[in-house]
Amino acid sequence: MTPPPKPTSSFPWLILPPAGVLIVLFGVPLLLVLAVSFASRGTYGGVEWALTFANYTSIADPLYLRIFWRSLWLAVATTAICLVMGFPLAYVIARAPKRWQGLLLFLVIIPFWTNFLVRTYAWMFILRTEGLLNQALLSAGLIHEPLNILFTDWAVLIGLVYGYLPFMVLPLYAALERLDRSLVEAAWDLYARPVQVFTKVVLPLSRPGVIAGCVLVFIPSLGAYVTPDLLGGARTMMVGNLIQHQYLVVRDWPFGSALSFVLMAGVLAAVLYYLRAGGARSLT
């Protein structure tokens, strides 16, 4: 590797167009959401520029708090399940012969680039009352009447885990692939039990990957919209659905904006935790 060039004194013209696009078409819209969250709702659903904190205080309503709470526990549960499920797969890929690794990674990446709506629909198809799962369980004699899984929190949880598992596997693989095998072998030679090898050697050494994976799964799960909308019922709303409802149905944009910023705060907290844990280094 050659050393990177030093910052030049000349004006950075090249970065101007992308920086302009990022500021005008992304930064300004986000700031608009922040500004509108302190405005009030106009009579016909527009925005009236009267400074108020009412949008934030009304989030304290138990109805909305329950939705935030559900989003939080679903996001945490999704992250935990993805970690437990993703670890073995990432480990197997990292330990596979080099010529297999590319193919296996490709297999993990493909679903991630596949239409999210379609992947969610696949679970509607499987989980519904007259769906495949119930048919299989009924004909196997394991149940006597169909289970109602679709339109419950369980269906949402399955959908979220299914949707974001690749986000966990990829950074875990990156960390495990770099893990020095001789350290694991040393642990075995010193008669560590399998659990000890895992908790004392593998897990601490793959920490950056674990943190990156957890953050990458937690953020989209917390802000999920499609999964709870299609797999959940009217009673399994998450923050994403509440925001969409306020924006497109109730047309209370200030309240919707305030909800968005509370969600954003959750996202930023996760990102900050990631940066403080030294996660940024693990990605480059």
């Binding site: 970065i15 959401v33 993703g86 999210f116 969409q244 968005s260």
Partner: protein, 254 residues
């Protein structure tokens, strides 16, 4: 040390978990039954029905138009970003890089809401134009990341040699760096095209009357009565994405 058997079993189970639902969907798109949960023989009737659906055809054309345009724009901006970051370091670059990741990291619903609000405030009617702008914004950082990774692996001395031989910076870039970057750029464009084609949430918020895209159409079908046609359409969408990603991975192998 050998990888434990139960570990391999768990890994294989994960792959089954990832692929089984998609496989089931594709298999059942060929099912003759209208009730669609029981296999009643092979049939192509749902595909045939799709191709006579005019509204679906219009949505497909909208999707393609947005995907092509936003991919071209994201490509230009993304390559420019990658080159600037890698070859022309500037003050405040670290902060810019963090901001560049934001469109990728924040929940899509936040971006959808922000874009909707922005377009309404500047009084730009929601249409194919607003959707193309929104897609460009979420796509160009993706292109920038992929192209930059490629650029980082190139030896900067190649371009310097061209400069020493009297090439202008632009000629040196065009004749030396750009051809070497091409596999990365083509791969990134295919990825951006896929993301645009598959996007639902941001499109949903920035779509106007008459600018329905394929995913918005699919969503509408899923929310009303689910017919076997959805399975056929889903199967096509899945296979198109897979083909695009396979192509993107393949061109980048060189």
């Amino acid at each position: 040390m050998k990888t434990g058997r139960w570990l391999i079993a768990a890994g294989v189970a994960d792959l089954f978990f990832l692929y089984l639902p998609i496989a089931i969907l594709i298999v059942f798109s060929f099912n003759a039954s209208k009730l669609s949960a029981r296999w009643q023989g092979f049939s192509l009737q749902w595909y045939a029905k799709l191709f006579t659906n005019q509204a679906l055809l219009a949505a497909t054309l909208n999707s393609l138009a947005i995907a092509v345009l936003s991919t071209v724009l994201a490509g230009l901006l993304g390559v420019l970003t990658a080159v600037a970051l890698e070859r022309r370091p500037f003050r405040g670059q670290a902060a810019f890089e963090a901001c560049l990741l934001l469109p990728i990291v924040i929940p899509e619903i936040m971006m959808g809401v922000a874009m909707l609000l922005f377009f309404v405030m500047i009084k730009l009617p929601l249409s194919l134009v607003t959707m193309t702008i929104a897609h460009t914004v979420f796509n160009f950082p993706v292109v920038a990341l992929i192209v930059r990774a490629r650029l980082r692996k190139l030896d900067p001395r190649l371009e310097e040699a061209a400069r020493d031989l009297g090439a202008t910076p632009w000629i040196a870039f065009k004749r030396v760096t750009l051809p070497l970057l091409m596999p990365g750029i083509v791969g990134a464009l295919l990825m951006a095209f896929t993301l645009s084609l598959d996007d639902f949430i941001i499109s949903f918020f920035t779509a106007g009357v008459g600018s329905t895209t394929l995913p918005i159409k699919v969503y509408g079908m899923l929310k009303s009565a689910v017919t076997p046609e959805v399975n056929a359409l889903s199967a096509i969408l899945v296979l198109v994405s897979m083909a695009l990603v396979a192509a993107a991975t393949w061109v980048q192998r060189k």
